[in-house]
Amino acid sequence: MTSRIHVLGGAQTDFERNWTKEGKNVIALLKEVVSDGLADAGLCYEDVEALNRDNRVACFVGNFIAERYIDQGHLGGLLTEVDEAFYGVPSARYEAACASSSAAIDAAAAKIQNGDYDVTVVVGWELMKTVDSKTCGDFLGRAAYYETEAKGIEFPFPKLFGRLADEYLSRYDTDEALLMDSLAMISAKNYANAKRNPFAQTRKWFMSREQASQRGTETNPYVGGRLAVSDCSQITDGAAVVILASDVYVKQHGLSCPVIKGYGHRVAPMVFQKTIDESSDSRFVLPWTRQTVLDAYRRSGLSLDDIDFFETHDCFTSSEYAAISAFGITEPGEEYRAIQDGVTAFDGPKPINPSGGLIGCGHPVGASGARMFLDLYRQVSGTAGAYQLPKSDTGMMLNIGGSATTNYVFVVSRG
């Protein structure tokens, strides 16, 4: 008998924190986020022990590349250092670059749906501030085909997503000034949204549409083609936990929680040029991203009209730009209309990234999928505090890994 997938709760760390500067290691990070996540879901370590006696709980860890950042592997097993309650609890690590914790959510949700477990704990995390920004960029290059796309290239990812902006210009005949202004508006919006979010890395930083438009200046230098620093997400330390539960558990405890309505998961070519070449006849530059969204609409039985808000993967302004048509908010090539008309603004009809997104909130790569999912949960359950949207019955998230290679979409709704 299959179960619905309920979202019990979760937690994230304050993405402003630099754990290296605090002198704390990954165990401190995990203890904090797991304890907070369990508490938010109304659970404690004794509950985990009790569930585990009957093999009803499991853990799913999302992380991209801890082997590089902190010399640590075997991340499923590492949870036993958080608390002895995890002795004997099934736990493994999932990796799909920046979509790692979405892969973990996918596995955790499948086990609930299948009736294998009653509670699944998803932990996404990354500690990135252990190295300087150039080394960090090089590590992240392993999310592309490293040997051909990243090795020996300074900041490979901004360059890849700069090419996405180039492709928009050549394919849709969009006015360059209009496109670049729209990208600046995305940046300014996400920084502004982050100011309401007490967990956001940039909540004390200054940004404006004007500053984001002044590319190529001393304080906003170009980093990848047409993209400048203001177009980029951040290097972040952080972790996020979400806790899923079965019908049995929810019924036993008399709970009413948000549920996962549907998902999509598609993998596009690893090499960005092949994605561009493959899509040359398509209406979409990123057709597999669009397909992932369509799959989620189909599985959830919902359409754009039903979605009140979106959390998307704005690793760069160009990726949020492309997401607008992928969600179906505009036709491809007309994304600027939604931005210029305020459709995706915090108080617009289809707000994107009310949390601040990866640009405003921060982007600890292995945590971002879980963080976006947590924000869907917070909005849908009405617990988003100062960044709560007035209408938030159903939300959709898009989390991508690499240069839009891995695509994950989840839809969360009131139960």
Partner: protein, 403 residues
């Protein structure tokens, strides 16, 4: 932006833009000098004075602002502790309602605290409009405080820092300055140890703040604001701290260019190498905090009976008590002290310290056990901690795993 000459104003505008990483703000900072003050003031909706922290200089500049300020415009002072009412009285009577204190902390992109101080004359509507602007547009953590020396942040912060300085003197045969800093390091809930902070701020500024508070306040902790004799001598010979390369600490560059941090030895009157004291309680707390074991770290602090651990705990307990009692006197609610210490000093704020201690012990019982009669007689512990208010801040982010 008005300063002594246009070139300085231009440089200041540039530095401001760099500090917030935004070239786009430079055009908002129109450089000017004092010969242009009258024109600048009469064109402005809000005039913010931030000249040297000297009452006579501030009174003079405030008078000049009063000569050209429009009736509907706001004027405020960025003073860190001089009397706002006295400054307001430098304005013509009809403009005194438009004046109040707006004390920002540095660096503003890191420290969001802004203490605002109305006077008897202040027009509440203008004050509230400014307050909303500071909160919503400038992203400040705005805390309304009374016109009291050092306001709230410096009053509490320098209570702790100056007490550390007095203890350095008292314990000069145990090591003095670095001995005390090793007891009150980042593992006790701050980015840097208190005397290192004083060295950053400068002993001259430190002295001005505590002298002002000592002269003009009269609570139970007044003597804690007496600036020690050895420190006066350092100020007199220009050893102010980091800004004069040598104060409480000094960075020495030795042969081959290697840098060594040295510390002023109060008994010898010379600088010596900074010592690694390796107190067992501190080592254990740092190891606990590294893996996020906050309970055990606090248990160590409370349970370890070495004189250093006891001194550390007493400092923290007294900090909480002084902060909460001063918050009632200078602020308007129990959270004011938390806001100022968290967002102005980046120290674990008092209510968050209480929560950390409550992990392993009853705070009130511990305070009664460890604090002196004179403090327990001066404050009403039950009333101070009556409503069991929870901190808005998380002690885990402040207790660092570093010595």
């Amino acid at each position: 932006m008005v300063s002594r000459d246009i070139e300085s104003s231009r440089r200041a505008a540039r530095a401001a833009a760099q500090s917030v990483k935004a070239d786009s703000i430079v055009k908002n900072l129109v450089p000017a000098d004092y010969s242009m003050l009258a024109d600048c003031v009469c064109e402005s909706d809000l005039v913010f004075e931030s000249v040297a922290e000297d009452l006579e200089i501030k009174l003079d500049v405030t008078r000049r602002i009063g000569d050209s300020l429009r009736d509907d415009a706001i004027a405020c002072s960025g003073t860190s502790g001089l009397p706002i009412t006295t400054l307001a009285e430098a304005l013509p009577e009809r403009l005194r309602s438009n004046y109040f204190g707006v004390h920002m902390y540095n660096p503003p992109y890191n420290m969001t605290l802004c203490e605002v101080t109305p006077t008897l004359y202040t027009n509440r509507v203008m004050f509230d409009v400014t307050r909303t602007y500071l909160t919503d547009v400038l992203g400040r953590t705005v805390v309304e405080v009374k016109d009291s020396p050092g306001f709230l942040g410096n009053r509490i912060g320098f209570y702790f820092i100056n007490k550390a300085l007095q203890y350095a003197d008292q314990y000069k045969f145990s090591g003095g300055i670095d001995y005390i800093d090793a007891i009150l390091g980042p593992f006790t809930g701050r980015t840097m140890a208190p005397l290192t902070t004083s060295d950053f701020v400068g002993l001259d500024v430190h002295r001005a703040i505590v002298d002002n508070i000592h002269t003009n306040t009269s609570d139970y902790a007044r003597e804690t604001f007496v600036f020690p004799e050895f420190a006066k001598q350092l100020v007199e010979v220009g050893r102010l701290g980091r800004k004069s390369n040598g104060g409480l600490y000094k960075m020495e560059v030795r042969d081959g260019g290697s840098k060594h941090l040295t510390v002023y030895d109060i008994t010898m009157g010379t600088y010596r190498n900074k010592l690694d004291y390796g107190f067992p309680f501190a080592e254990e707390m740092v190891a606990d905090l590294r893996v996020g074991d906050y309970s055990h770290a606090v248990e160590t602090l409370v349970g370890n009976r070495s004189s250093e651990a006891q001194m550390c705990l007493t400092f923290l307990l007294e900090y909480v008590i002084y902060a909460l009692s001063t918050s009632g006197e200078v602020g308007y609610d129990i959270h004011s002290a938390d806001d100022v210490m968290a967002t102005g000093f980046n120290w674990c704020p008092p209510l968050a310290v209480v929560e950390a201690i409550q992990l392993v012990a009853d705070f009130k019982a511990l305070a009664r056990e460890r604090l002196s009669e004179s403090i327990l007689d001066a404050v009403d512990l039950d009333r101070l901690l009556a409503d069991g208010a929870r901190s808005k801040y998380d002690y885990r982010t402040y207790l660092r795993s570093a010595k």
